[in-house]
Symmetry: C2
Subunit: 221 residues, 2 copies
DNA sequence: GCATAGTTCAAACGGTCGTTTGAACAGGAG
DNA sequence: CTCCTGTTCAAACGACCGTTTGAACTATGC
């Protein structure tokens, strides 16, 4: 009766390992949550698209919110890892300038699309939407996932912008976060047939230039 | 049985005319929709807080979405009017510069808080949240309300930034829109007890400075 | 073979959703 | 007073929500 592939089925292509129910749920969750938001997406819509039973969500995750939490954690892990790596590298080479710090923050969030095509765009949109979900509880789910690295960025930015007050640095950081989330959430509605990689590269460059100018000359007390 | 004030009741203060059911519904709607988003807010939560019957929503507006549409239209009307007024004034005095155009766009959206206190902050948060609601249909409700003026701003910005390509101008406009909505949606969580007006004034100045720097030097092809 | 742990399933749970109904209530016009 | 229009009300509608249940299936270890 179940029509989906079974582990070890020889008819599958060589390169695509069969996804587990858990993986399919996470994949569909980030696609649908990113499309309609948390409240606007039902578990039934997710499980139908994932060819899974509704009870599978509670079996694998425990609740709808726990599914979202797992999806956020999985989606943000590589971004956070890359941001940490870049921060480590920058700080090892002395005092980084604002542009280097902005790149270290923005590019990992947009390279998702650049390096993983439409799949990466789905992840980017998901992250961008969750970061500014209407519900505060959902936003805190995102914040909890990027909390530890936020403090590092703030102090590094402060050191790179000695003329700016802490309030101004925090203001710039919030704006950087917001603009990144904005363009992430629009990752799929931009040029939906052209070269994703090329467009994302240009977008990242434009966004960095925009932010660098604003940080260098637009922060006041 | 109904405990709310009745028209002409002498116990009411002189300055507060009694609100109609329709007005109470709109007031509570922009408060709750701005707090939990469209999907995250039920009509029952709104009608209970507004001391109205559930059927009153369908009587006065027709549906939940029609209530939201009416609230969006009412909230944005004064902002759009003020933006049009400023644009008219600027264009009457010759070619405006980018800072003047940015002020004409940003300040009407934040002066809500400056001039109407907590009530204005509720409206600002409502607008900011709806502008970037997860559901595209809701976002289009906002877009439809600010559509006609958007074209004027884009061409005025293009004229003020002759060195920038149309794509760069559009990119800057989207960023301005996004940052304004971001700070509008945070209107109530910032300094909840201090002088709203003073904080909003500073915020507007900081945001204008941030955007002017980014527009002047951060837009490339 | 049998037992066992991991996973999936259809079905149902109670609750809440947006919407609709039809009666009741108001108040001015004739 | 009667009529009429506008408004409010309790109650119910069917649909959908997240969650739970307990049986059925699968695969591995003995």
């Amino acid at each position: 009766m179940p029509e989906r592939a079974v582990a070890g089925g020889k008819e599958n292509s060589v390169e695509t390992p069969v996804e587990s129910t858990r993986e399919r749920l996470l994949n569909v969750a980030e696609q649908r949550f990113g499309e309609g938001g948390y409240e606007g997406t039902s578990l039934r819509a997710i499980t139908v698209a994932a060819a899974a039973n509704i009870a599978a969500v509670n079996y694998h995750f425990g609740s709808k919110e726990a599914l979202l939490r797992a999806a956020v954690a999985r989606a943000m892990a590589p971004v956070n890892t890359e941001r940490r790596r870049r921060l480590d590298q920058l700080e090892a080479n002395g005092q980084p300038n604002p542009e280097q710090l902005i790149r270290a923050f923005v590019e990992p969030g947009l390279d998702l699309v650049l390096r993983h095509g439409e799949r990466g765009a789905v992840v980017a949109r998901f992250i961008g939407r969750i970061a500014f979900d209407p519900s505060q509880r959902i936003r805190e789910l995102y914040a909890a996932e990027s909390d530890p690295i936020e403090a590092r960025y703030l102090s590094a930015l402060q050191a790179a912008l000695p003329h700016a007050t802490p309030e101004a640095v925090a203001f710039g950081y919030v704006n950087m976060l917001g603009l990144l989330a904005l363009h992430q959430s629009q990752a799929l509605s931009r040029a939906p047939g052209l070269e994703d990689a090329e467009n994302s590269g240009k977008l990242a460059e434009n966004l960095v230039a925009f932010l660098v100018a604003a940080f260098d000359r637009g922060l006041r007390a």
